[in-house]
């Protein structure tokens, strides 16, 4: 197990290389000169030259990349062009806000999704099944910024139950997490349902019945563990959607997180900030998928982690 994790971590190195290279080139391929941007449009050529020299923009690209990489490894993403503060200092707090939002939303979608999926499968073609699948389809088709606005309208403005913006207190967490978690819950519910239905018709479920196992135990012990294998895959992919979803959700609820920071940075062409955000989000995504792969092992012992 440990060797597997270690090997997977080593395999991540080329992936992360690719990400940094891509991010680095992105900056150099975009039209516009960062030095010009920093100095302002009216700036004399010598000021621009000075900034270019200071940032090393005249060095050959490979040299610049290696320097960039060296800094990234030390978690030094340079200074923000907007605030002149180190990007890392700006991101640190925002990163944890987004992580919190992502984790709560994932927990919500897993919890609601799996329970709804099981109920649907066990009561296939009944009213509960049809109702759950209808709601799931609705949740899946709804753009989350719209859902966020509607929730805000109802629960903040009309009913006054939750504050419409911000992040931190428990009541501020509720609406953004529902906004972000709904689509995931819908996907997981549908996946769990179909996966459960397939597992329930398997021979080993009949064996368990023939052994005298109670129906509830059959569902939660014998069937669920097998049914969750494809659900976990979806969960890992869903996390990517979730990360991009945070951008919109944070915007709607005025949450001071990574998603909003990315948008603001892109708008301001704050390249160091954009680079840092993309790299951090990519690393997060890659690690979540590693966790998904490892959790397979607990569900399905047939996956040989050392092979």
């Amino acid at each position: 197990m440990l060797t597997y994790i270690l090997r997977r971590l080593i395999q991540l190195i080329p992936v992360l290389f690719g990400v940094t290279l891509f991010v680095f080139l992105l900056m150099h391929l975009t039209p516009g000169n960062p030095a010009q941007l920093m100095a302002g449009e009216q700036a004399p050529q010598e000021v621009i030259d000075r900034i270019e020299n200071r940032l090393g923009l005249n060095d050959p690209l490979p040299v610049q990349y290696v320097r960039f990489l060296g800094n990234v490894v030390q978690l030094d993403f340079g200074t923000s062009m907007r605030s002149n503060l180190p990007v890392m200092d700006e991101i640190r707090y925002k990163f944890f806000v987004t992580i919190e939002l992502a984790i709560y939303s994932t927990l919500l979608s897993v919890f609601i999704g799996i329970i709804a999926g099981i109920v649907s499968a066990v009561r296939q073609y009944t009213f509960s099944d049809i109702a759950i699948m209808f709601v799931a389809l609705f949740g899946l088709s709804m753009p989350n910024f719209w859902l966020g606005l509607m929730l805000m309208q109802w629960f903040s403005i009309n009913l006054g139950w939750f504050p419409p913006t911000g992040w931190g207190s428990a009541s501020q967490v509720v609406l953004p997490v529902i906004t972000l978690g709904t689509a995931g819950a819908a996907v997981i519910a549908r996946m769990t349902r179909s996966s459960m239905l397939e597992v329930i018709s398997q021979d080993y479920i009949r064996t368990a019945r023939a052994k005298g196992v109670r129906e509830r135990v059959i569902i939660y012990r014998h069937a669920l563990k097998n049914a969750l294998i494809p659900v976990v895959t979806v969960l890992g992919l869903q996390f990517g959607t979730l990360l991009s979803g945070t951008v919109l959700t944070e915007q709607v609820f005025a949450i001071n997180g990574m998603g909003r920071y990315v948008i603001d940075s892109i708008m301001a062409r704050d390249f160091p900030a954009v680079q840092a955000s993309i790299i951090i989000i990519s690393v997060m995504f890659v690690f979540v998928n590693l966790i998904v792969d490892i959790s397979y092992r607990f569900l399905n012992k047939r996956i040989d982690l050392n092979g």
Binding site: Q202, D203, Y204, R206, T207, A208, R209, A210, K211, G212, V213, R214, H222, K225, N226, L299, N300, K301, R302
Partner: protein
């Protein structure tokens, strides 16, 4: 039959499947047989003859849209058809156990062999992990699994088909059932392993004194393991007899046909003769005897009217017009010479 005590008496069992809003398919249609205590009853028939549905009906494991429509399943005087689901759970895996055709898929891939057998002890005897582990190891030893202490922590995918079927048997016999239903337990296995598994079931039967229902399409298996046979065709028992009687003196034309299509070493045989035609589809059952369209002796009586299952002495039962006073065809066909 006769003077022996029967552990199980199935009487006129009817199990149907209702599809497409009420359209009925009679999978088991009036099945009657007895299982004498400590003996083995073979249920033989082609695929689709209703033998597996009969077995699942005994444990009341018929899933919707299937339903036991009528008849009796008497286990030591108690009718299982009237039992609640809760009462049935106490019987399943405890008084009556079942093993299945596909050892590859009949074990849960996500739990160890030990966990799966232990569950029976937990459900029926309330045993904790430590007590049951000893029993599981004992059980695995009994079914001939080498180094059971190691196997107990292995997953089904780490075992061969034969080993898995042994695990299934260990699981089925864990709580010392009085009746074991084996639904084609050897069909999916290699020939050499087949013989071993059959031998194992027989040995364990002698050792534990249980009764067995052996469901198979293989008359060879019947000859080797069974004391009594019920031959099924299209959801009905067409002949019930002691094994020796059946092989020596088969009476129903279907049984005769089956035996003629089987290579035998005990008699001179010029060639194997297949039964002509195919099994009628369940939604297009003949009105009379369901074997009539394929029967070489069928008369108009056979085509129009269904014969009853009649006792013809010595505990033999047969569902055929030939053996009744109403028979209007060739009187010579009553005697079959192999």
């Amino acid at each position: 039959m006769g003077s022996e005590n029967n552990i199980l008496r199935v009487n006129n069992l009817q199990t149907s499947f209702f599809i497409d809003g009420g359209h009925e398919i009679k999978a088991v249609d009036g099945v009657t047989f007895d299982v004498p205590e400590g003996k083995t009853l073979g249920i033989v028939g082609e695929s689709g003859s209703g033998k597996s549905i009969t077995a699942l009906s005994i444990l009341k494991l018929i899933d919707s849209p299937g339903k036991i429509k009528g008849g009796e399943i008497n286990l030591k005087g108690e009718n299982l058809v009237d039992k609640t689901e809760k009462a049935m759970r106490k019987i399943r895996g405890n008084t009556i156990s079942m093993i299945f055709q596909e050892p590859m898929t009949s074990l849960n891939p996500t739990y160890t062999v030990g966990q799966q057998i232990r569950e029976s002890y937990k459900i029926h005897q309330g045993l904790g992990k430590r007590e049951s582990t000893e029993k599981v190891i004992e059980m695995l030893k009994l079914v001939g699994i080498p180094s059971p202490e190691k196997r107990i922590n292995q997953y089904p995918f780490e075992l061969s088909g034969g080993m898995r079927q042994r695990v299934m048997i260990a699981m089925a016999l864990a709580c010392n059932p009085e009746l074991l239903i084996a639904d084609e337990p050897t069909t999916a296995l290699d020939v050499t392993i087949q013989a071993q598994i059959l031998e194992l079931i027989k040995e364990l039967q002698d050792e534990l004194g249980m009764s067995v229902i052996m469901i198979t399409h293989d008359l060879g298996v019947v000859a080797e393991t069974c004391d009594f046979v019920a031959v099924m065709y299209c959801g009905k028992v067409v002949e019930y007899a002691e094994v020796k009687t059946l092989f020596k003196n088969p009476r129903h034309p279907y049984t005769v046909g089956l035996l003629k299509s089987l290579p035998r070493s005990d008699i001179d045989q010029l060639e194997l003769i297949p039964i002509k035609g195919t099994v009628p589809s369940p939604d297009n059952m003949p009105e009379g005897c369901s074997f009539a369209p394929r029967c070489p002796f069928a008369t108009e009586l056979c085509h129009d009217h269904l014969p009853d299952l009649l006792e013809i002495g010595d505990g033999e039962q047969i569902r055929c017009w030939i053996y009744t006073d109403d028979w209007d065809g060739d009187p010579e066909v009553k005697v079959y010479e192999p």
